[in-house]
């Protein structure tokens, strides 16, 4: 299935855009998606950390990704 991924902050710069579309296997999890992203954009591995959000909530590694979900790459936040 194809997943739409939002990228913010330094992740947006690393991924070369604020919206990506990635073909992922059905029944993927946030953990496997994170691994795929790191392989495709190795500079993500150089960050302090990054999390994935699914439908505007931080996602645990075993969270299932479903078609139509809004996934976002959340590099270390620094608001305030």
């Amino acid at each position: 299935m194809q997943i739409k991924i939002l990228a913010f902050g330094i992740a947006r710069e690393i991924c070369g855009g604020s919206t990506l579309h990635l073909e992922v296997p059905d029944h993927s999890t946030a953990g496997t998606l994170k691994q795929m992203l790191t392989e495709q954009y190795p500079r993500l591995a150089g960050l302090n950390s990054f999390l994935l959000a699914v439908n505007e909530e931080f996602a645990a590694p075993d969270a299932r990704i479903n078609s139509g979900d809004e996934v976002a790459i959340i590099p270390p936040v620094s608001g305030g």
Binding site: L6, F8, G9, I10, R12, E13, G46, L47, N48, A53, E56, E57, F58, A72, I74, P75, P76, V77, S78, G79, G80
Partner: protein, 143 residues
């Protein structure tokens, strides 16, 4: 506490009106308001900052703000909390964030305000890039 707890959130590229934030939380039942104002500093580790650029995952940031406020309401007897965060390009001296918390008694207002800004900085998806003369840095991005 019979009083209803109210919250107000705003993420905006416009300058933040501090008095408006305070006005959102004050009422006749409040004895104290604690307000935190975060502004853009001129130096980072001694290096002059030209400007800051803030970016937000706005819909999720508003949800996370709501979550923080619910936690604060559960922990302390506060009446109202307002969180306004600015995004876009900010100059030195500009206000990036205002958190205003009202309560009948000041201890709760102080505790909840501090909890709110501390947690916001840890969980709310907002990012800032510091722009220096010789380059730019996404804050906290790298070890």
């Amino acid at each position: 506490m019979a009083q209803r707890q109210t919250s107000h959130f705003n993420i905006t590229t416009a300058p933040i009106d501090v008095m408006a934030c305070i006005g959102l939380v004050t009422g006749p039942g409040s004895g104290g308001v604690d307000v935190f104002i975060g502004t853009v500093r001129d130096l980072t580790q001694g290096k002059p900052v030209l400007r800051l650029e803030f970016e937000a995952y706005e819909s999720m940031a508003l949800r996370e703000m709501q979550r923080i406020v619910e936690q604060a309401f559960a922990k302390w007897p506060v009446h109202a909390i307002a969180i306004h965060h600015r995004t876009g390009v900010l100059q030195v001296g500009d206000t990036a964030v205002v958190i205003a918390v009202s309560a009948a008694h000041r201890a709760a207002a102080f505790d909840a305000c501090r909890y709110t800004i501390d947690t916001l900085k840890q969980t709310v998806p907002i990012w800032k890039k510091e722009v220096f003369e010789d380059g730019e840095v996404w804050v906290s991005a790298h070890p």
